[in-house]
Symmetry: C2
C-alpha cells in the first residue's frame, strides 16, 4: 500500500480515479435506526423516567431524580477557574476572536415604504431556545463548544441548553470551562439519542428547544434526522476534508503537516494536494515520509493518507481551481504567492485559507470564523455554521388602503386563474366602492 | 358537526383543546418510500432510459428520445404571448413587485482587516444550478413559479432548470408563461420522484443541479428527502395555515373571507381567529354561515373549518400574541387598529400581515414577499424562502506573517489540549525562529 496516491490530471484515467478517491456514501445502519426510533418514542411518552433509564444503561450514571443531571453555573465557573493559566488564556482569546468575527454576521430587520404608504420588509428575530450537543469521551472538543455556542449567543438566543454525556460520571473540565466562556445557560449530563429526544420533545426536567446543533456519533446523527421538523437541526457532518492548492512556494514541511492536521482526525478524513510542480509534490511526499513517524497519531494519519489522500499533479493553478470547485472542499488552503488573485476563481468551499501563513489549524481554533463547515461536496449549496443559523425571518406586509386598491385587482386576476375564489374575494372586499 | 370550533382561553380545558386542534403529524407511507427508493435507484443507474420509462408509465407521455422532453425558450415566450392581456399584465406586475422586494435580500461579501494585516471575512456566491419542481394538474400555480424562480435569479443562479409533469402531454400555458417571466433557463416535462432523481443525479439529458426547490405531492416530498445531501432541498411544506388576531375593528365579512382563503386550499388547511370580543366572534361565525354557500370551493372550506378551524375568545390582545407565538403560524394577520404596536410582541410567524387592508391573498400573489413560508410551527426556527436560500457563504481567512505569530501559540495550546498534535505542529511551523 502506497503512502499516498499520486494522480496526474493529464492522465486518461484521471476523472475515474478522482471519482473513486472522492466516493463516500454515508451508510444507513438499520439497527441504529431501529434503536433510535425506540429511544425517541420512549423519551416522548415517558419523559424523565426513560431518560434516567437510558442514562443509567448507556452511561452507567445513576441518579435519583432527573434534576441531579444538571451541572450548576457555579460548577462551570469552577471548571474555568481550575484550568492552567495558559490554557484558560488561550480559550479566552479564542472565544473573544470568534465572538468578534461572528458579530459581523448578525442580520437586522429592514423595511421600506412605497409611495402609496404600503410598508414591506423582514423582521429578524433570534430563536428562543437552542440545544447544543457535545460528545463525551475522546471527541469532546472545547473548541466545538465555543464554535457552536458563540454564534447562538451573538444571534441573541435567550436560552442555550448544552447536553453532554458523562460516562461513569466523569466530567471534562475543559469542556465545562468552554461552556462557561461560550455563555451556555444550562448544562445537563445526558447524551446519545435520548438527549436529542429530550431536547426535541422536552421532559419535566429538560426544556424543549427550537433547534439542536453540534456533532455526535451515528446514534446522535440518526436521532437528529428523525426529530428534524419538530425542531431545526444543523447539518449532519461527513468526514473532514482539506484541499491544498500550492504553487510550490511554501515549505514542503508546512504543506505536509497541514495534510496531517486533517488526516489525524479520522481514517476517513480526506487530504488532497493540487500542484503544477512535480518536484514539489516529490518534496511533499518525502516530507510526509520523514515527518509521519514523529506524529503521536501516526497510525490514523497513515490510514487516512493511504486510503483517501492524494498528491495531484495539475496542468496549472487555473485547473487546480476548477478541480477544487468540483470537489467543493470543507477546508481549502490556497498556498500560493497570488492567493488573493485566485480567490475570485473559487466558487465552492467551506472556508478558504489564503497564503502560506493561513494554516487550517489557526482557523480551527482561533482565527475567528466558524470551524463547523459543510463537508462531502455540500459547500456547493451550504455555508459554515453562523449567526444566521440562529436567527429567522418573518415577512412584514402592511398594505395601505390605497395600496389595496392597486394590489387587489392583480391578486384577484391571478387567484381566479388558479381557481382560488376565496383568495380573489378577499382581495376584492378591500376595494373601495365608488 | 359544528361549522367551526369555538374555544375560550379561560376554559380549564383550553390548553388540551388547543393541542388537539393543532395536532398534525406528517405520516410516512411505507409504500411511497419503497417506490421512491426504487425510482431513484433506477434513475441514478439507468439515467434517461429509466426516465423515459417512468414518464411513459406515470404521465402517459411517450417520446423517442429524452431531448424531446425539453420545452424550448420559444415555446415559453409563445405561451406568455398567448395569455389574455389582463392576465399577462397581472403576472408581469406581480413578477416585478416580487423581484423588487427580493433584491433587498441579497447578501454581499464582506471582509475586515486587523491591525497586524490579517484579513477575515465571508465570500458570498450564488449556487451554480438549481432545479425547480412545479406540480402538474390542479395544483399547477403560476404564482409558485414566480415565487421560486425570482429569488433564485436575483441571487445570481446561473442556470435554473424547471421540471413539470405534463400528463397525456397537456401543457399549462400560464405556468409556462410564468417560467418565461421568472427567468427560468430550461424546462423539461418530467415529474414525480423520477424528476427529482434526474435533477439530483443528472442524466445525459437532464443536468445535475445543486439544489431542488418547489412543492410537490407525497412522492416528490419523499424523493426530495432522500436526495438531501446529494443536493440541497427547500423545506417540506405541511398544510397551509392562517391565524388572525382581531380587535373586532375590521368588517366581519373580511375576516371570514380571509379564513376561507386559507381553508379553500385543502381540507387539512388550518384557519384560526383570536379575538377578545365575543360579539365579534359571533358576527364572524354568522358571516361564515352566510358567505360559505357562495363559494365555489364550499365543500373543501367546510371540511377544513369544521375539522381544523377555530374561533377563539381570548382575554386580550396580549394573550392573543402569546398564543400566536406558541402556534408560530405560517400566515399571521394582525387585523387591529394598533397593528404596528403589536408587531414587537410577535416572535414566530412566516409572514405578518399588519392592518385590515393586508389580506393574506395580496401577499400570496403580488405584495412582493415570498409566499413559500414555514408551516407546522417551524417558523420557530425557519424563514420564508428567499434569496439567501440560493446563496452560500465561504469563510475567508488570510493570516499575515505577524498574525501567525499571535494566533499560532493560542491554536497550539488548544490543539494540544484536544490531543491533536499535527494541528499544533502546523501552527508552530509558522512561528518565526528568533
Amino acid at each position: 500500500m502506497s503512502l499516498i496516491h499520486r494522480l496526474n490530471s493529464q492522465s486518461a484515467q484521471f476523472d475515474a480515479e478522482l471519482r473513486t478517491l472522492l466516493a463516500y456514501e454515508a451508510s444507513e445502519d438499520a439497527s441504529i435506526e431501529h434503536a433510535c426510533a425506540e429511544i425517541l418514542h420512549r423519551i416522548q411518552h415517558e419523559g424523565d423516567t426513560a431518560l434516567l433509564d437510558y442514562t443509567q444503561r448507556f452511561d452507567r450514571l445513576s441518579v435519583d431524580q432527573a434534576s441531579a443531571l444538571e451541572i450548576s453555573k457555579e460548577e462551570l465557573v469552577a471548571a474555568l477557574n481550575s484550568l492552567p493559566a495558559e490554557q484558560r488564556q488561550a480559550l479566552e482569546q479564542a472565544a473573544e476572536r470568534v465572538r468578534r468575527y461572528h458579530e459581523h454576521q448578525r442580520t437586522e430587520t429592514w423595511t421600506y415604504t412605497e409611495a402609496d404608504g404600503t410598508v414591506l420588509g423582514q423582521q429578524v428575530t433570534a430563536l428562543d431556545r437552542v440545544g447544543l450537543y457535545v460528545p463525551g469521551g475522546k471527541a469532546a472538543y472545547p473548541s466545538s463548544v465555543l464554535m457552536n455556542a458563540i454564534p447562538a449567543k451573538v444571534a441573541g438566543v435567550a436560552e442555550l441548553i448544552m447536553v453532554t454525556p458523562t460516562p461513569d460520571g466523569i466530567r471534562n473540565p475543559i469542556v465545562l470551562a468552554a461552556a462557561a466562556l461560550g455563555g451556555v445557560d444550562r448544562v445537563f449530563t445526558i447524551g446519545g439519542a435520548q438527549a436529542v429526544g429530550a431536547l426535541a420533545y422536552g421532559t419535566d426536567t429538560i426544556p424543549a428547544v427550537d433547534k439542536i446543533v453540534g456533532p455526535g456519533n451515528a446514534y446522535v446523527a440518526a436521532a437528529k434526522r428523525r426529530v428534524f421538523g419538530v425542531v431545526g437541526i444543523d447539518m449532519i457532518a461527513g468526514p473532514s476534508e482539506i484541499l491544498i492548492i500550492s504553487d510550490g512556494s511554501a515549505p514542503a514541511d508546512w504543506v505536509a503537516m497541514d495534510l496531517f492536521s486533517q488526516a489525524e482526525h479520522d481514517e476517513l478524513a480526506q487530504a488532497i494536494l493540487l500542484c503544477p510542480d512535480a518536484d514539489f509534490l516529490d518534496q511533499v511526499e518525502a516530507a510526509i515520509e520523514r515527518l509521519l513517524p514523529t506524529m503521536p497519531r501516526a497510525d490514523i494519519i497513515r490510514r487516512s493518507l493511504s486510503g483517501r489522500g492524494a498528491l495531484i499533479h495539475v496542468r496549472d493553478l487555473d485547473e487546480a481551481c476548477k478541480i477544487s470547485n468540483h470537489i467543493a472542499p470543507e477546508h481549502l488552503e490556497v498556498s500560493t504567492q497570488n492567493a488573493q488573485e485566485l480567490l475570485s476563481k473559487i466558487r465552492h468551499a467551506g472556508a478558504i485559507f489564503l497564503g502560506p501563513y493561513s494554516s487550517e489549524s489557526l482557523g480551527d481554533y482561533c482565527a475567528g470564523p466558524n470551524h463547523v463547515l459543510p463537508t462531502a461536496r455540500t459547500a456547493r449549496f451550504s455555508s459554515p455554521l453562523g449567526v444566521y443559523d440562529f436567527q429567522k425571518r418573518s415577512s412584514i406586509i402592511q398594505v395601505s388602503e390605497s395600496g389595496a386598491q392597486t394590489l387587489g385587482p392583480i391578486a384577484a386576476t391571478l387567484a381566479q386563474g388558479e381557481g382560488l375564489y376565496a383568495h380573489a374575494a378577499s382581495a376584492q372586499f378591500r376595494l373601495n366602492q365608488s
